[in-house]
Amino acid sequence: MEALLQLLIFGGLLSLGVFGFYRERAHLADLDEREAAVQLPTSTLHAPIPAIVVTNATMVTGNVVQAADYLKTFLFTFVALFGGESQSLGRVLVRARREALLRAQEEAIAFGARALVNVRFETSTMGQKQGNRGIAATEVVCHGTAVR
């Protein structure tokens, strides 16, 4: 009986992956839309290209803490067993980085920036990992200098 209950809980957690799937799709659509709206020359260089006369500058940041759903973390244990690439976990981080960059760009636009330069990304892990598996949560910080 107890084993059945545990199996039900496990199945329930796995089925949360459905929500994860829809949330990912909604997030990607949202990112596409916002990226299309942001028209800001962005680079990792120190000076904007084409060169502009800079009258003011400020540091902008964008950060996001992202977690993967239970299904993705569970499926990763199979990837870890045989080796290879985990595309579903990869997509989670790519989304997090796009979101962080967008937040920095949106802050730059609010400042009235004409370009965003010296962009850097940093990541760190937050929260607890469960035994051998699990993204707990990954934090992505994007920072750069907005110039106008």
Binding site: P41, T42, S43, T44, L45, H46, I49, P50, A68, T73, F76, V79, A80, L81, F82, G83, G84, E85, S86, Q87, L89, G90, L93, V94, R97, L101, V119, R120, F121, E122, T123, S124, T125, K129, N132, R133, G134, I135, T138, V140
Partner: protein, 109 residues
């Protein structure tokens, strides 16, 4: 495709900005290598399985970044940076990013 981690390419002028390009991958080695690495941890030494894993990941991330730059019509990626994230035990996430630009040879005056 010229890929450098400096701001400029020696002997070239940057003539156009194509934008930020990036490539990333999350890879894992099979269980056997994980166990081997666990044993190696007891005696010390290089974890060759994981060294391999990281260089494979770095190569794949770089290739993806280059592919993105090519799609934008760039002929160089400058100021390339690498960063990693720890997402799961035994997995390596490698992220490469840089600025895609078009360059041309500096004309000597």
């Amino acid at each position: 495709m010229i890929v450098v981690n400096t701001e400029t390419v020696p002997g070239h002028d940057i003539i156009g900005l194509k934008g930020l390009v990036q490539g990333s991958t999350i890879r894992a080695k099979h269980l056997g290598r994980d166990i081997g690495a666990g044993l190696k941890n007891l005696v010390g030494g290089e974890l060759t399985g994981y060294t391999e894993l990281l260089s494979e990941s770095r190569k794949q991330a770089t290739e993806r970044m280059i592919a993105e730059a090519e799609a934008l019509g760039a002929n160089a990626v400058v100021n390339v940076r690498f960063t990693t994230a720890s997402v799961a035990a035994g997995a390596a996430e490698m992220y490469a990013y840089g600025t895609a630009v078009t360059i041309s040879r500096t004309i000597a005056e």
